[in-house]
Symmetry: C2
């Protein structure tokens, strides 16, 4: 008998008929002898509907002031889901009980609309499990020290599920979603893309942060921190497939680098075209320039991704970084009006038509020449590399966005990702 | 400066535009120097939508088993309302904070879907009021001793508002609704029906229990018990009418029989056609027959309204009572199968085509001959009276339902209810 956490997304909870299917699937697991905790999202569209009502009453530019109230409103979507799923399970003949985050309680800090989980009390949940009940807990939300409802931000239900699994020391956390696992790259771009049976959580973290939308990045961080085995699998398989088959489907995100793991050097190709590149040219090369440039950007609450500083020549250097495209205009204004005059830099050049393509693989740690293979593959396609940045298990390049699909396909092929690892 | 509680129904909260109007009205009161607590209902249609989803997942006949979950689900409607109203008030430049029932907390028993309020903690609310905030509290719901969400049943937001007003020792509780007050009878039946400026809470209790749908009866009981001055008024007046005018509009339900009260003998005519009449005929007249008949009915959770036992003749008597029409068939079955054989009664006769018409007035206490005036008026119209029952401030008759409108009009006229009291 294992303790299993299931998480179902908004699409899986999208209608009473789908909720009934979720209940049948959970009942199958419970009848197989597992202790079950389920974390569902709000029914698809509901969170948008609720926040849309709030938006009609208050200008979007002032949402910070209303953040506490937005959480009061948005958290109800998941509360409806847990109640409905509990009824559906009871209609299936199971014992079930639902809890809102504050009832467990799931304690968070007070950062409304983007709160972080601090602790989860498992006493009630354990007692219910011991009494043979399926326990259903709202995703996405908790309660702060003063008794206010908080939410974790978009996609927060993944994080809730992993946090519950960590607190309960669950044997596995299964994230049911609308894809059937993690792929070597996006199958819409590379038809030969292959589902990975396992991936290390570090690789998953890079894949998630690089634009693979399967899991919310915070949930992967959480899983790594608390060593929660996490499985991503499809909620669109029939609910009554054999449980042995279902338990091995999808992709297992593991923190153990055991012998059985696929030994490919590169596990996947990630990419995104959400970023824009900014270069401050001709910066006098003195200590503190990175701080002078990026400090001002950070103060404006703009997140920076890739950062590069070239070696200087003639006492001047070029400083480049990328920001989200939505922040591009704001960043350029900020630099031109304040930072560049203060620094005595020559000029700013920017480009919004870029993309970032990355190879990710825990095997890169112990294999030389991986980056070289990447650069050769891109060179053979005539793709110019604008920026390069590396970490222990990832190499990213910034290139012209028109080459994105070409680059992803070339890299997928050159690392033999269409073949099962030997 | 007074402490005022406003309650707004689902129609008043029915769209973001209407919520904005509620916010403007509340802001007007706050700016006039009053401390404001607001109790809104769910947006109209929302509670039905939520319970409809639940119904799709579970057969309606088993709702008792799912009652805890129904409360989890239904309570979210009001939680959305308080959040939206708080945002609307903040957008008006007011300070505002919203609370779900469990946050105040509003403590109730554990009777899911029909819980009763046990206590309300006023510490948080007082602190917020002292800090200059408008406090918005969900209607309809609370928390039981074990931390479960409970709801008070349909119309429970009236009760919530009165209970909050009682706990806060508010100066007045204003119930904004879609009628502009309490009338001498239903204006759709008697066009001359007149709005009452004041009515005693005992009269209101009789009017409410007799089918006048203006206020939920439990809220009137609560107001009487805790001596909360209660005003029913329209939410459809423009929000910016002068506050002095608004404060005197509608109908004040008062517990003080002061000199200024309207001194009419009869304050209003109430009626309903929800009931059915059952007579057990030829019951052997022995001690305990009322218990034998009504005990069985009560055990089946059927509410009985009018009860009459005639004097016996030849050692046998007839025993009559009324039940809700929805319970009629069940009651007849129960009596025929079990009670009548055990009693040795002759037979049962029933009639679903009846109505009950009542005159209500605190003045009846000290005026003789009121019932006689009622009977004469009905007699002059040729209306046969089937049952009569009286209390200190009410006389009710059961008549053929086809005469209902005629009876109401005749009584309204014979007690001069179309004239302002002198």
């Amino acid at each position: 008998m294992a303790l299993i956490v299931h998480k179902y997304g908004g699409t899986s909870m999208g209608s009473t008929e789908r909720i009934r299917n979720v209940a049948k699937r959970v009942a199958k697991w419970a009848r197989a002898g597992h202790q079950m905790v389920v974390v569902p999202s709000a029914m698809s569209g509901e969170t948008n509907r609720l926040l849309g009502l709030a938006k009609e009453l208050a200008p979007a530019s002032h949402t910070d002031e209303y953040a506490r109230e937005l959480d009061m409103i948005a958290s109800t979507g998941e509360q409806v889901s847990v109640g409905l799923l509990s009824i559906a399970l009871q209609a299936e003949g199971m014992q079930a009980v639902s809890y809102a985050g504050w009832q467990v309680p799931v304690k968070t800090d007070s950062a409304y609309t983007k709160a972080r989980i601090e602790s989860i009390d498992d006493v009630k949940v354990r007692a219910d499990l011991a009494a043979g009940k399926v326990v259903i807990i709202t995703g996405f939300q908790g309660i702060d020290g003063a008794g206010n409802i908080t939410t974790l931000g978009r996609g927060g239900s993944d994080t809730s599920a992993v946090a519950v699994a960590a607190a309960m020391k669950a044997d596995e956390c299964l994230i049911y979603t609308d894809v059937d696992g993690v792929y070597t790259t996006d199958p819409r771009i590379v038809p030969e893309a292959r589902r990975l049976h396992t991936i290390s959580f570090e690789e998953m973290l890079e894949m998630a942060s690089l634009g693979s939308k399967v899991l919310q990045i915070r949930s992967v961080e959480f899983a790594g921190k608390y060593r929660v085995p996490l499985r991503v699998l499809s909620s669109f398989t029939p609910w009554d497939i054999p449980i042995d088959e279902e338990a091995k489907s999808g992709t297992l995100i593991t923190f153990e680098e055991d012998e059985k793991m696929e030994q490919a050097v590169v596990s996947g190709i990630a990419f995104n075209r959400d970023e824009a590149k900014i270069t401050v040219m001709g910066v006098p090369d003195k200590p503190g320039i990175a701080y002078q440039i990026l400090g001002a950007v950070a103060d404006a609450n703009i997140d920076v991704d890739v950062i590069l500083q070239n070696v200087s020549h003639d006492g001047r250097t070029d400083f480049s970084f990328t920001v989200h495209r939505n922040d591009y205009a704001k960043t350029v204004d900020l630099l031109n009006s304040k930072v560049i005059p203060a620094l005595g830099a020559e000029k700013l050049v920017g480009d919004t038509k870029i993309c970032k393509v990355s190879i990710v693989g825990i095997g890169m740690r112990s294999h030389a020449g991986v980056a070289a293979t990447m650069f050769r593959a891109l060179s053979e396609e005539g793709i110019n590399i604008q920026m390069i940045t590396t970490s222990e298990i990832k190499t990213s390049v910034v290139i012209d966005e028109k080459y994105m699909e070409l680059a992803v396909r070339a890299l997928h092929k050159s690392f033999d990702l269409d073949q099962e690892a030997g």
